[in-house]
């Protein structure tokens, strides 16, 4: 059984680095058993397919454009995740939704997938989160730890 926590985003662009920062903080704050793996996925796109397909339970932290613009922590589960995949100009535009669709075509979708995201407030080229997003981080981490603990208990 493999529980994977994957942080996505680019630490060079302010709040775009939210996912990576969340995983780094979790790494420092938790001491999970070996079946839980915390991964800084950066913006590796298609190169993360192995990680997505190898996971039984997948928790992802990422910046997102929500359907409403309220600055808060958003959580989406399984079917709520966006399934639409786009025609690309660059291999670098492969997003989360495409990874999940490809995993589906290979018949290797995680049993459960949860996305925890925030709407980025600052995307300028600088390292570090904006105060608004920094303020949301504890809540996001709390939510993430709750999900991982739930999976650990459910699978004994």
């Amino acid at each position: 059984m493999k529980i994977t926590v994957l942080g996505l985003g680019n630490i060079m662009f302010g709040d775009e680095g939210f996912g990576v920062e969340a995983v780094r903080r979790l790494q420092a704050a938790t001491d999970y058993p070996p079946e839980v793996e915390l991964i800084d996925g950066g913006t590796q796109g298609i190169y993360l397919l192995n990680i997505v397909e190898a996971a039984d339970y997948l928790l992802i932290f990422d910046a997102l454009i929500p359907t409403d613009q309220e600055v808060k922590v958003y959580t989406y589960r399984d079917d709520e995740l966006p399934a639409i995949i786009h025609r690309k100009m660059s291999a670098h535009q492969v997003g989360l939704s495409e990874l999940l669709t490809l995993a589906q075509l290979h018949g290797k979708v995680p049993k459960e997938t949860v996305l925890i995201g925030i709407p980025p407030q600052n995307l300028d080229m600088e390292v570090g989160l904006s105060p608004a997003i920094e303020g949301l981080l504890p809540e996001a981490l709390e939510a993430g730890m709750g999900i991982v603990n739930g999976w650990l208990q459910a699978t004994g």
């Binding site: 996505l8 985003g9 680019n10 630490i11 060079m12 662009f13 775009e16 996912g19 991964i39 800084d40 996925g41 950066g42 913006t43 590796q44 796109g45 298609i46 190169y47 993360l48 397919l49 192995n50 397909e53 990422d62 910046a63 997102l64 454009i65 929500p66 359907t67 989406y76 966006p82 399934a83 639409i84 995949i85 786009h86 025609r87 690309k88 100009m89 660059s90 291999a91 670098h92 535009q93 492969v94 997003g95 989360l96 939704s97 495409e98 669709t101 490809l102 589906q104 075509l105 290979h106 996305l115 995201g117 980025p120 995307l123 300028d124 080229m125 600088e126 390292v127």
Partner: protein, 573 residues
């Protein structure tokens, strides 16, 4: 009346490529403009930091190109401070680089580029028995039975009928520009899925030598890979055996799947030889056999070709020479303090953004003036193309045995003339040829490493320049690699042990650059000129040619859109 098409992936952040193409009355592209982003502000992030940490930041610039920026960066700092690395570190870097090239080319062909040639919806009407017959006639790849193709058809149909067109949505299915019969389309779709499944294995090599993947570790002065054949914490016999198996499987996959597919698909498109473009090519060279300063030892040669003249290779390419590499801003949203007319060498580079384009939302860029966030790099004042086609042509012109053999074999099988290389299809073929070559490099470096380990050499790091007090007070360095998509250069200025300035010229800046002060186009713009469009509302031909360069422009953004907005916006106006 002249029409203008716009192909513009809607950006979440400034990280995108936009093409505007003017058509003539025959629906041929009369002129094209390429506009894109640049990583403004990188030098500000790096200024004042420890040069030994630069690789960890530069590897994050670009989503997928992490390894190549890390490699260029450590080479750059080592060049500045005068550090030399042990032979094992050079071998491991070469092995990781060859691994990256091979995986990247494979992913590019199947994942990004194949759908410019392959019609997925047509594949649904294929006869699986006929697909099996064709597959077995071109390759010994074992997954080729009628049953295999029947099962795949069933999966595809279920997928499409359930409305989850997913990866296959938003394309131009049924477009007259697609020329493959249904069975060949089906084979290609089968291998699209197989290739994406297989590529996951290749990169495990990075985890072995870089400690982890994604984001393997690099180190100024060597590599952080401890070798100890007896230990399970270091690079051990067991892990090396795994690496060996991955290398063997990779070579098999390329020989049995990628190359036969490439030749089969190209056979149907050899009449479509558009997209050649500039005819000027540049490569910094890479894969030093001994030391990075021994340019003659590179397995990929440094050099340049002008005007498609394969009879002359310019061997004196020197990226340190201020007269050779310059960046202009005459059509870019920047200013230079001494005027925008004169190009600057990266060591003297400036990044002063000044947007003077139209207000958002706009219909057209002001292509007569400034229209891109990319600067315009030039080699000895020439616009050049970089990437696999440049490298393969330079090697071919220099008579490199491996490349001459591979190129002539592919041309022979296609019954195509040498001139066919100067095209979109030629660029795509060059990438496949190169992928086969780099898979061979993986084997070569593995064997070199094993020989050194057997001889008792476990050394991977040289600490003699690690301490900043041993560095010159004020020094400059140049570091480079030939990334999968072309020449990548890093230029650093170190002062008092800290980064004073850092400039990067990435491959896509060479290829996607806007016009220079003399009005001359870069590689993308030149390649699009003269291309006939079957249907301007569905600019398949534009995507095909731009994708053939493996653009690197939409880097760095990884935001999920919960509304599922389209990325590519196509407008005819």
């Amino acid at each position: 009346m002249a029409k203008r098409i716009v192909v513009d992936p809607i950006p979440r952040i400034e990280g995108h490529l936009r093409i505007e193409a003017k058509l003539n009355g025959n629906n041929e592209i009369a002129d094209a403009y390429s506009s894109g982003t640049m990583w403004r502000g990188l030098e500000i992030i790096l200024q004042g930091r420890d040069p030994r940490d630069a690789w960890a930041y530069t590897q994050r610039i670009c989503g997928v190109c992490t390894t190549v920026h890390a490699l260029a960066s450590v080479r750059c700092v080592e060049d500045a401070i005068g550090a030399h690395i042990p032979p094992n570190a050079n071998i491991i870097r070469n092995l990781m680089n060859a691994t990256q090239q091979t995986q990247d080319h494979l992913i590019h062909f199947y994942h990004l580029h194949a759908l410019d040639w392959v019609d997925v919806v047509s594949a649904l009407s294929a006869d699986p028995n006929e697909a099996s017959r064709i597959a077995q006639s071109i390759s010994s790849y074992p997954k080729s039975s009628p049953g295999y193709f029947k099962d795949l058809l069933k999966t595809l149909k279920t997928f499409v009928e359930s409305g989850q067109l997913g990866i296959f949505s938003n394309a131009y299915w049924g477009h007259k520009g697609y020329l493959l019969p249904p069975e060949v389309n089906l084979i290609a779709v089968a291998h699209y899925l197989e290739a994406l499944d297989f590529q996951k294995e290749i990169i495990k090599i990075h985890a072995v030598f870089g400690g982890k993947n994604p984001h393997p570790n690099y180190l100024v002065g060597g590599m952080a890979s401890a070798i100890n054949p007896e230990s399970d914490r270091a690079i051990s016999i067991e892990r090396l055996a795994m690496v060996k198996k991955i290398i063997d499987d990779t070579n098999d996959f390329i020989d049995q799947v990628y190359i036969p597919d490439l030749i089969a698909i190209a056979g149907f498109y050899k009449g479509w030889l558009h997209g050649g473009g500039l005819g000027n090519y540049l490569s910094y060279g890479d894969f030093p056999e001994t030391d990075i300063n021994d340019v003659d030892s590179y397995l990929w040669s440094r050099g340049a070709i002008l005007n498609k003249d394969l009879g002359t290779v310019y061997d004196d390419v020197d990226p340190r020479d201020p007269a050779q590499i310059t960046e202009e801003v005459s059509h870019s949203w920047y200013t230079y303090k001494d005027g925008d007319e004169k190009g600057l060498h990266p060591w003297d580079g400036e990044t002063n953004p000044k947007y003077v384009g139209p207000e958002l939302p706009y219909k057209h860029l002001d292509t007569d003036h400034k229209y891109s966030w990319l600067k315009t790099p030039r080699w000895r004042d020439n616009p050049v193309e970089v990437g696999p086609l440049a490298r393969v042509l330079i090697a071919y012109a220099k008579g490199n045995d491996d490349i001459v053999g591979l190129v002539d074999t592919v041309l022979g099988k296609l019954k195509a003339p040498k001139a066919a290389l100067f095209s979109t299809l030629g660029r795509t073929a060059a990438r496949g040829i190169e992928c086969k070559q780099t898979a061979g490099f993986m084997r070569r470096y593995y064997d070199q490493l094993i020989a050194n380990i057997k001889a008792g050499d476990y050394d991977t790091f040289s600490k003699n320049r690690w301490e900043p007090k041993r560095w010159p007070k004020d020094c400059r360095g140049f570091g480079f690699t030939e990334a999968p998509r072309g020449a990548l250069g890093h230029w650093i200025h170190i002062k008092d042990e800290k980064i004073a300035d850092y400039q990067i010229v990435v491959p896509s800046t060479w290829n996607a650059s806007p016009r220079d002060g003399k009005g001359r186009s870069g590689a993308y713009e030149a390649a699009l000129k003269g291309t006939p469009m079957v249907d301007p509302e569905q600019p398949l031909e534009v995507l095909r040619t731009i994708h053939s360069f493996d653009p690197c422009l939409a880097c760095a953004s990884h935001i999920v859109d919960m509304e599922g907005n389209e990325i590519t916006q196509v407008k005819v106006v």
